[in-house]
Structure formats: structure tokens, C-alpha cells
């Protein structure tokens, strides 16, 4: 049977059909649809597969490791920057090793369609010294999940699967098979693998190093890596190493007329690379993201052998691959006819009409203006980051999840006043709470605005981990209850919000303002769901 699936959905269904017992994830474009698919799937419901959202990527990674410890197959999903958040757990899970199959899925976003950087998760795989899978299309994504679980259980190591936006969010028909049974519960019995005291950790690390040849062999023999040599000697003497979806762009441009090595499982199949180099005059590395493979291949072949790619300018150093930049690198001429129209304006994303964040910023920017150029507003990541754009131009920074509170604290320590943080409800529970504790302990003179729309808005309205708990959390962390203040952000209350901000700026310790009104997108969705339920 065939089903039309997004790359993300193919991974989700592949995991379910491979006997998945739990997906652990925090939303993040372009990975969100994997968990959402499992949440909506009938089989997953029947089997009671865990799919509830986690508070952040670290809690997700650790919970999945726990499920693997218990012998079951688990999947962790996140966007690339989530790897930074869970890195401690991730890297150490390679030292403990796993029990049930464990896949860590990182969805990279080259070109930064919805992200603050384009870091390449393949580095993390190499860093942790575990196998990395990088599907080239939706079918392969589906098939690969099963193989990845099997390899993880054979090696007793977690494996990393890396996708990029264009695969995650592109649909194609996928041939699917029946679902396998889940693993039986079989918790680990050997403590020495899991208690990473130095004595054990040294042994475990040595064991991981010892596994490296086996890991390399698995990639060398992988069905997902393939040396495709032309029957007759090709006219073009460049050999092409195509990683992940890079393969598709190469095939689109040159069909079967060049020698190529398709790579979808790492470590790199060294023998194939040497073989390709031997029949070519030079190599071109086509990889989405950073020049990970290009550097490795240079090292492999030595300085005398010409290797082209992103580092040499054959392909752009930044930004995603596309059929046009790959064709150009291969010397294939473009069929482009029309130049970009001069009559064109950019259309950046913006706040929805009626969004509560608007009212918060309308108040905030006016109060800030009252302090001349003294005040600073440290922003964070979410829909409310759009407050950086006109007409609001109301935030001075946006770095990583949770950084608003801690940066405001550091700036206040240095003497900035007023020092204000603005953070969303989901971002606050993701990574803001610990920073607030630091600020409380230091009596930092900051105002924290938790703009609570009762959802994780930016990524499409997923449940937010702390809903209905914010005042309690802030008070429990030590903020004076008199300075934890809640208000409904709406246009008629802008004056009241302004007054509240002024009062809390005047208070020389940590204060928290919580403007709270449901996201109008989820409000509309809930209304539709209610109406549909009434009809039935």
C-alpha cells in the first residue's frame, strides 16, 4: 500500500511500524510534524505509544533513554538547535549505550527558514561517535527508521538521524508495510554500563572506541550508500559525492551521466570514496548544511587530490542546496527565462490581527521610550520575537531559548536599568525557570514579562507544559507574590499594562508580569473542534 506522506510523517510512520513505544519531543520547525503525526495515529493510540510533548529537548532525550533502558524502542525528535539543549544527555547516552533501539532525530534548517542558525547535526553524530543516517527521500526515510532501530539494538548504541527542511516538509508517495510488535519490557540488569562514575565511564568509552570499526563497517555495507558508476566512461571527469537530499539535485541535473556516490549513512564509506576518486579527476561534494564531508574527504585523499564543494566556492558557503546551485556546480546551464520582477516588496511574517502579544508590545514600547535610550528589552524565541519588526521594534536581543531572563540579569548586574525580559510561556518552562532562580537569588533588578498565550504558538499551537502553573512556579522560585502580576492583554487595557510595567520597573528586585490571553489561532481551532463535536 502507498501513502502520501511528508518526510516527517514517513519517519513517524516508519517508527510506529518498527514497533515504537514512545516519541519524546519538544516542538521545533521542521521536526514538529513527526510527533504530531504519532499523536494523531490510530495504531499509536491503540498501542498507547507515548507521544505527549516534553518540556524541552533535554527532558525528551533523557526520558527516551529511560524507555530504551527498559528495553523498548524510543524516538527523540527536535530541531537542530534542540541538539544543543540535549547535548549533555545525548553525548553521554553514547557512553552508557542503550538497550532498546534509540533514534535521535535532528531536523536541520539550512537557509534558516525558521531558525537562528544553520548548524549541521552531523557534527554531533561524529562528536558522540555514533552512526548517522541521512535519508535522501521520503521512502528512504520510512525504510531507514526500521534499519536504524535494528542497528541501534545490534550495537547497543543510540543512532542519530538527520533530515533537512526540504525533506521534512515535502510530500511523496511511500510504500508502507505492516507494523511490527513492540519490544517486551526488559529493563537493563548491568549497572556498570549505566552508572558513569569515572571507573565505569572509562571502560564504557573504551568500549565505544572499540565499536568504531563495526560502526564504520555498518555504513560501508549499508543499503543506503551506493556507488553508481556509469557503464561507459563519462564525459565529465568529476566524481560527485552526494549526501542526503543532495543526491536528488544531482540526479535532476545530470541523470545517469556522471559517476556518483550516494551517501545516506555515516561514517563515510571510505572504500567507495577512494574508488570514486580513482576513476575521477576530481571530486565535488554536494551536501546540505555545513561542509562536514568535504573536510573529511580532503583529509582522506590528501592535499594533492582536488576536492570541490562549499569550501572552495563551487557551492555557496551558506544556505540550503537547491536544484539551481547544484546544477551550476555541475556545469549544467539553467533554463531560467525571467529575471526577478522589480515590482516586488518583501512580505515578512507578522503578528496575527487580535494577537495579545501586540497589546503587550504596544504598552512596553511606550514605557521603554519614557526612559530615553537607557532601557533594554531582552527578547526570546517565539511568535513574540516578531516584536523586533516594525511597527513595534520593541526588543533588543533574541539569542536562544531562555536567554531573555539571563541576559536581562547579566545586563542589570552590569548596571543597565530598566532591564526587561520578554519571554513566551512555553519558552519560559523550556529554559527560563532556572534563569529566574538565578535572578531571584541575586535580587536582580529586572522585570520579566511572561507573555502567556496558553500555547506554543510559533510552532503551530502545541500544548504548553506550564499552562495554569506560572504564578505558582514564579512564587515557588522565590519571586515576591506581590510582584507576580497577571493581566489580560487587550487594546483597552494598554494603559493599565503600561502602569503595571512602570510600577515593576520601580521595584528594585525581580518582578514578573504575566499578560495572559489565549492565542487567537488556537482559540479559533478550539471553537471549530467544539462546533464539530456538537454536530456529531
Amino acid at each position: 500500500m502507498k501513502r502520501l506522506l511528508l518526510g516527517d510523517e514517513a519517519i513517524a510512520l516508519g517508527a510506529l511500524h518498527a514497533g515504537l513505544s514512545g516519541v519524546y519531543a519538544y516542538p521545533g520547525t521542521p521536526s514538529t510534524e513527526i510527533t504530531e503525526f504519532i499523536q494523531g495515529d490510530k495504531l499509536a493510540r491503540e498501542r498507547n505509544v507515548h507521544s505527549r510533548w516534553c518540556t524541552n529537548e533535554k527532558t525528551a532525550m533523557e526520558a527516551a533513554l529511560g524507555m530504551s533502558y527498559a528495553g523498548k524502542r524510543a524516538l527523540v525528535c527536535m530541531k537542530h538547535v534542540g541538539m544543543n539543549v540535549c547535548a549533555d544527555a545525548f553525548v553521554n547516552s553514547a557512553i552508557t549505550g542503550c538497550n532498546g533501539g534509540l533514534i535521535v532525530l535532528a531536523a536541520d534548517d539550512p537557509s534558516m527558514h525558521s531558525s537562528q542558525n544553520e548548524q549541521d547535526s552531523r557534527f554531533y553524530g561524529k562528536f558522540a561517535m555514533i552512526p548517522v543516517f541521512e535519508p535522501s527521500n521520503q521512502q528512504e526515510a520510512y525504510d531507514m527508521v526500521e534499519e536504524a532501530f535494528a542497528l541501534s539494538e545490534r550495537l547497543k548504541e543510540p543512532v542519530l538521524m538527520r533530515v533537512v527542511t526540504r525533506l521534512a516538509h515535502s510530500r511523496a508517495a511511500v510504500e508502507i508495510h505492516d507494523a511490527k510488535a513492540e519490544n517486551e519490557l526488559s529493563p537493563e540488569t548491568d549497572r556498570t554500563h549505566w552508572v558513569l562514575l569515572p571507573g565505569n565511564a572509562k571502560r564504557q568509552y573504551a568500549a565505544l572506541i572499540e565499536k568504531q570499526p563495526v560502526i564504520a563497517e555498518a555504513a560501508a555495507d549499508s543499503e543506503f550508500n551506493r556507488l553508481e558508476l556509469c557503464e561507459d566512461e563519462p564525459e565529465n571527469k568529476t566524481g560527485v559525492i552526494c549526501c542526503g537530499i543532495g543526491y536528488n539535485y544531482v540526479k535532476e541535473a545530470v541523470g545517469n551521466t556522471m559517476n556518483v556516490l550516494k551517501v545516506s549513512q555515516y561514517p563515510l564509506p571510505e572504500k567507495d570514496i577512494v574508488a570514486l576518486a580513482a576513476v575521477s579527476e576530481n571530486l565535488l561534494v554536494v551536501e546540505d548544511g555545513q561542509p562536514v564531508v568535504e573536510e573529511l574527504v580532503r583529509g582522506m585523499l590528501g592535499a594533492g587530490y582536488p576536492v570541490y564543494g562549499r569550501l572552495t566556492g563551487a557551492l555557496p558557503r551558506a544556505g540550503e542546496l537547491n536544484p539551481d546551485n547544484v546544477a551550476k556546480a555541475l556545469g549544467v546551464e539553467s533554463n531560467k527565462v525571467y529575471d526577478p520582477s522589480p515590482v516586488l516588496a518583501g512580505r515578512p511574517p507578522q503578528f496575527c490581527q487580535g494577537c495579545g502579544h501586540r497589546d503587550v508590545y504596544n504598552a512596553l514600547r511606550e514605557v521603554v521610550a519614557e526612559f530615553g535610550d537607557k532601557a533594554r528589552v531582552f527578547g526570546d524565541i517565539g511568535c513574540y520575537t516578531l516584536g523586533a519588526l516594525p511597527p513595534f521594534t520593541a526588543i533588543d536581543s533574541c539569542v536562544d531559548m531562555g536567554a531573555s531572563i539571563t541576559m536581562a540579569k547579566g545586563a542589570a548586574d552590569a548596571g543597565v536599568h530598566p532591564s526587561i525580559a520578554i519571554i513566551g510561556d512555553s519558552t519560559f518552562t523550556h529554559s527560563g525557570m532556572t534563569g529566574l532562580l538565578d535572578a531571584v537569588n541575586d535580587h536582580s533588578n529586572i522585570v520579566v514579562v511572561i507573555s502567556d498565550n496558553l500555547t506554543t504558538g510559533m510552532t503551530g499551537g502545541q500544548d504548553s507544559a506550564g499552562t495554569s502553573k506560572y504564578e505558582a512556579i514564579c512564587v515557588a522560585l522565590g519571586v515576591d507574590p506581590a510582584h507576580v502580576r497577571v493581566i489580560v492583554p487587550q487594546p483597552t487595557k494598554v494603559e493599565q499594562i503600561k502602569e503595571m510595567i512602570r510600577e515593576e520597573i520601580a521595584y528594585p528586585d525581580v518582578s514578573v508580569i504575566i499578560p495572559r490571553r489565549e492565542c487567537i489561532q488556537t482559540l479559533a481551532r478550539h471553537a471549530r473542534q467544539k462546533a464539530a463535536a456538537r454536530k456529531q
Binding site: 515535502s170 510530500r171 539535485y249 535532476e252 527565462v337 515590482v343 516588496a345 512580505r347
Partner: protein
């Protein structure tokens, strides 16, 4: 045979529903299909597009190379212009004539019209008005699909019409009827 289609508009205008209908028709017809969508940030009132590739052969790239789109189907006239480098020499632009102005520097409407009129094949109509007349304004995207039907080629008008009915089936008979009327009105408007 292959057809490359770019669907575009402003976040929230319903281009993904058009993609779903064409995808359903293509699947039923046994065609290969790839459909790259935009999710995330730009869905909030920003420019959005989807690349839809239909073919009797294997399709490799999820994205359409420049100069190869057979049709640009746009819910908004300026957005149609954004993808001109992707249009093939004989390619068609099928677009709503009504501007969606949510930015301060939106160009002169007459300048947009002049740009569009330079192209060899353009169908430009007030799809919201047509949708209002025959069904409801919410079916404007299906009117646009009807207008694009003759240019899609690789699928017949009947195949697309059947897909409209199937995609809206879950929402009840009245919704199916409204969308079929919208589709037919789109077909008739360019016919």
C-alpha cells in the same frame, strides 16, 4: 510527461488546500508526485509557496529548478511575480487580481498589473467575487484551481473535479457542493 506547478500566496490564504486537491487527483491518477510545502514562521501573514511536481517518471528534486515551472497559481498578484524566475518560457500565471496589502511598502497595483500583462499567458480574475457569487468567499482558492485546470494538463478537469469532491467529503454535502460550484465557475471563467 511532467508538470511543475508553483502555488503561492500569503500565509492563511489556503494554498495548501489547493495542493491537497491536486495531490489527491495525482495520486488517484497514478502519477508520481512531490510537494514541498512551507511550514513555520512565514505562515504568519508572510509570503508562502509550495512546489508541486507531477510526472509519469521518477521525480528526484523536491524543488522546481528555475525556468521550469509550467504554471504559477497565486492567491495574490504580487506574490505571483515573486516566482517569475521559476516560470518556463511558455509557462502560465493564474492569479487572483485582488491585492492583499499587509505591508506598508506594497507596490502600485497598476505596476503589478503591467508586469503581469507582459507575460505570454496570464489568467487574472477577482476570485473572491466569483466565489461569493456562486458559493462562499471561503471557496476562492477552489475558483482559482478551476481557472488553473486547463494549464495543469497532466490531469483532466474531471480528475481535478473528482478530487475536489473527495477532499471536501468529510465536511459534508453542502461544503462539497459549494466547492464544486466554485471549481466549475473557475473553469468557466477562463474557458
Amino acid at each position: 510527461m511532467k508538470k511543475d506547478i508553483i502555488l503561492c500566496g500569503v500565509g492563511g490564504q489556503g494554498i495548501l488546500s489547493i495542493a491537497t486537491i491536486i495531490g489527491e487527483a495525482a495520486t488517484a491518477a497514478g502519477l508520481n508526485l512531490k510537494q514541498a510545502e512551507v511550514h513555520g514562521m512565514s505562515q504568519r501573514g508572510g509570503d508562502v509557496q509550495s512546489n508541486l511536481r507531477l510526472s509519469t517518471d521518477v521525480i528526484y528534486s523536491d524543488l522546481i529548478p528555475m525556468g521550469e515551472a509550467d504554471v504559477i497559481i497565486s492567491m495574490e498578484p504580487m506574490e505571483a511575480l515573486r516566482y517569475l524566475p521559476y516560470l518556463s518560457k511558455e509557462g502560465a500565471v493564474v492569479t487572483s487580481s485582488q491585492s492583499f496589502v499587509n505591508i506598508p511598502n506594497y507596490p502600485e497595483v497598476s505596476a503589478i498589473d503591467a508586469e503581469l500583462d507582459k507575460l505570454p499567458k496570464v489568467a487574472k480574475l477577482d476570485i473572491e467575487q466569483i466565489a461569493k457569487e456562486v458559493a462562499t468567499v471561503r471557496s476562492a482558492n477552489v475558483v482559482l484551481l478551476g481557472m488553473a485546470a486547463p494549464y495543469i494538463g497532466i490531469l483532466s478537469t474531471d480528475e481535478l473535479r473528482g478530487a475536489v469532491a473527495r477532499v471536501f467529503e468529510r465536511k459534508g454535502e453542502a461544503v462539497v457542493e459549494a466547492n464544486l460550484k466554485a471549481f466549475d465557475a473557475g473553469v468557466a471563467a477562463v474557458g
